[in-house]
Amino acid sequence: MPENRIYEDLSLVQRRANTVFWIVAAMIFLALSYYWKVQILEHKKYQGLAEANRTRMRVLPAPRGLIRDRKGGILADNRASFKVSLVRENVKDEASSHAAICRLLGIDEPTLRGRIDLHKDLQPFEPIIIADGLGPDDVAPIESRRLELPELIVESEPQRFYPGGGLAAHVLGYLQEQTPEEVLARPNRKVRPGEMVGKTGVEREYNDVLRGDDGKVYEVVDSLGRVHGTTAATQNPVQGGDIVLTIDRDLQAEAERSLEGREGVVVALDPGTGRVLALASSPTYDPNRFITRFTPKEWIALMSDPDSPLENRAIRGLYAPGSIFKLVMSMGGLSSGMITESTTFYCSGSIQIYGAIRHCWFAPGHGAMDLSDAIKNSCNIYFYTLGRRMGIDTIAQAASLLGLGRKTGVDLVGEKEGLVPSEGWKMKTLKTPWYPGETISVAIGQGQLQVTPMQIAAMTAMIAERGKRFRPHLIGGALEPPAVAEELPASGTMPRFTPAEYEGVIAGMWRSVNEGGTGQGAKVADFDACGKTGSTQTMSRESAERLKRAGREVKTHSWFSGFAPRVNPKIVVTVLVEFGGGGGATAAPVAGRLFDLYKKDLATKLETTK
């Protein structure tokens, strides 16, 4: 070609360039087919991932149901509060972020660390609650720093509020945060980590009724967790069901007032239904203080308080029943035929039984006593003699027939069984035979006998109803179980007590209150109360006398348990005051005040129904 002089031969390099281009073209085609695979064939998978990326499920906590007393007064309410959560994923610089958070929330770094460590197994994008129970003023500074602190989320949350403060605290119980371990331990419950759940009392027993159903909202969030609106599927929370208790606010308040400054228990029951009208355990506490997730100092103080204010003494306190047990002795004595109502024993102030001298609490002696005299005066000599006749196993059978040594079944968690000793029991647990001398201690309610005040109240109610027993319960309203009398299982060879036997004992109880007996402090005009006192030795007689000689007074636990009126009983009151001294002096007047209050209450109700 003529041009060859001007244009050099470039065909070789041009061919090579073309080859490279076609290699490039082939790679473009391969890339395109991979895009086809990802965008068309695997579209569904990536669409799901994109959805999960941008939507975040947020729980809308359901307000708990309200708890009311039998008259409709609110015992547990809800109020609006705010909580602040931390999303670890959005923390840029841990040190400066934590410092700013602590400053804004007024908490210290170890507390914050502790919270985060507690929930360290959560995914980094899941919020950890770091402060709660806050008011609008507390969260305003955080809201205003939204952009600087994308790791913080402020949400509103209904918070439990007990308008009465410590009123009926042991009945209501308290809430605590469900820990991650507890959630793991019971995976099929619908409780989420960080939820406040009932730990004791009614809040725990009826947690499933009270908690309601949490709502859900699916929020569209960006990569910094900022919310850009919600998707359509918002599920509103459903408030938990309300609960009506059998508790009577006024009786409850009076019971708590009378225990103020002391340690003790007051239980009031409606014997014809088993309704618990009042349940006070002292010392008490203010459950409002545990509603936040962070009160470690106060919590530890309460936990380690030697007076254990958190314990519900009515169902968990174990005491010797003292002279209250003479009711069991009387019932058992009549039933076993060891005595009749007119059997008389002579009290000279002391008696020698099994080689040991035993004293009556009334040193000069009561003289000749029949059953109702003995109950009225709480004569020890009478019951020593009866105890020797009955023997421990007959006593145990009678106690069992009256519900001692087993749970009453009240709808509160943690109730204790107490203990009714017997020959078999001692051989089994202590591997030693029973000594007859021990029977004599049990005969006046000492020795190894252990009862809870709730058991004594239930037993008193059973006596008041002449043998009909209704399970004590706190739940009222629509959820209340029908009032069907309970049959306690048979106990050994002893038959069930007859109405006549009950009447015999009740006669003594009536005289104790109304004819100048030990229970006269509980007397209320025209209310015909019946009752029995008890004073429980808290240490052996020998050590008590030694201390007495040293000039120190040792007070006994003070008991009273009774009901009113004698016919068609309306209320049972059981009072225990720890180290309260004589039952007649301390416990009986407390019961008297409650009888009086309830009597007036019944009168006004009668007025209004007329």
């Binding site: 390099v13 073309n18 395109l32 990802v38 965008q39 579209h43 960006d222």
Partner: protein, 365 residues
């Protein structure tokens, strides 16, 4: 220097220029989509850069490429000095010393170094007429390319360094490599690769390579970008989620949306359809560039067209493979579409050189 001849204007490849501008405008659209909620008006700035780059392209057209080739020695010296200065003075941007401030504009000298290398190789191989490279020639070319390459690796700018290697390799292929030379080069590359892995590579760079093999192994770290990008593309489906409707990009799950990952935004918002159209346009553009070698009047022209085309093609391929997880994340932009002045300017100038060679295919002797 001579002013542009009237006759030459008719020889400009307007179709190629049109394809370049079309791609750039597609880029502006998706830069807008992914940044309109941010302050800074990125799309406006990109438009300004397109204008600046177009002027630069026309200026490049005005001068015969032979003149540029003859000056390539000076350019080379300037480039080495600039790269060395960058290393010393440049402020740290994103962990690398690759930016210098020139008045109002920030420039990446390594981007412009690619253009210089195109001219240097054209000069080196213009007079080389035998079918295969000699060892002497190979080593000489490696030495010339090695100095700027090392300076860029030192910044460290892995992406640009890889692009450099692609240009060098392409030039060698064109010049003709014997089998023995290929084996030697592969061995040398392996040695450098293994040595570089253990000595020179930063931990984050190593992580990017291991992440390619297993992106789920580090979903919150370096695997995050690839996972989010793949989710964006895959969730786009056939027709996409619509302009400005991509949840991945609008909600900022996608990193570097308007720069390295602009094609992920296109994939999410316009689906496979948009991906297909953009890749088709790119194919047309690259075909038109590569196949222009037939129009070159001399050896230098062939080298300019080939290396410039390879420069664009390599970056394009690496970018679209990187964002879908088939290549490590090395920080290579998508020419014409990604936001960024230096990269845009370099791509336009490279195309300017191709147009330059093409329109001067008739020797005006």
């Amino acid at each position: 220097m001579m002013m542009i001849d009237r006759r030459l204007i008719g020889e400009v490849d307007w179709i190629l220029l049109g394809l370049i501008l079309l791609q750039s405008l597609v880029g502006v659209f998706f830069i807008y989509s992914s940044t309109n909620f941010l302050p800074g008006a990125y799309h406006v700035r990109q438009l300004i850069w397109i204008g600046v780059s177009l002027v630069a392209l026309l200026l490049v057209l005005a001068v015969d490429y032979k003149f540029f080739v003859s000056l390539s020695g000076y350019f080379y010296g300037l480039m080495v000095i600039l790269l060395a200065m960058t290393l010393v003075f440049a402020r740290l941007v994103a962990g690398t010393k690759s930016w210098i401030t020139l008045g109002l504009m920030q420039l990446q000298p390594s981007e412009l170094a690619k253009i210089v290398m195109i001219l240097v190789f054209a000069r080196l191989f213009a007079e080389y007429k035998s079918a295969y490279l000699t060892t002497q020639h190979t080593l000489g070319a490696l030495l010339v390319a090695g100095v700027p390459l090392l300076l860029i690796i030192a910044q460290p700018d892995l992406g640009t360094a890889m692009t450099f290697l692609a240009i060098i390799g392409g030039a060698f292929i064109l010049a003709g490599l014997r089998k023995k030379a290929i084996v030697l080069l592969v061995l040398a590359a392996l040695a450098i690769g293994v040595g570089g892995w253990t000595i020179a590579l930063k931990d984050y760079q190593k992580k990017r390579v291991t992440t390619l093999i297993n992106p789920a192994g580090d979903p919150r770290g370096s695997g995050y970008q690839v996972i989010q990008s793949k989710i964006a593309i895959g969730s786009g489906g056939f027709a996409g989620k619509g302009f400005q409707k991509g949840t991945q990009s609008q909600l900022r799950f996608l990193p570097a949306r308007h720069t390295d990952f602009i094609f992920s935004v296109i994939g999410e918002e316009t689906g496979f359809l948009g991906v297909f159209v953009v890749i088709l346009l790119y194919f047309a553009l690259l075909a038109r560039m590569f196949l222009s070698v037939a129009k070159a009047r001399d050896r230098a022209g062939v080298y300019i067209i080939f290396t410039a085309s390879l420069l664009i093609a390599f970056q394009f391929l690496v970018n679209i493979l990187m964002i879908i997880g088939l290549f490590p994340v090395v920080g290579i932009t998508l020419p014409f579409l990604s936001y960024g002045g230096s990269s845009l300017l370099a791509s336009y100038v490279a195309c300017g050189l191709v147009l330059n060679v093409k329109m001067r295919r008739f020797a005006n002797v």
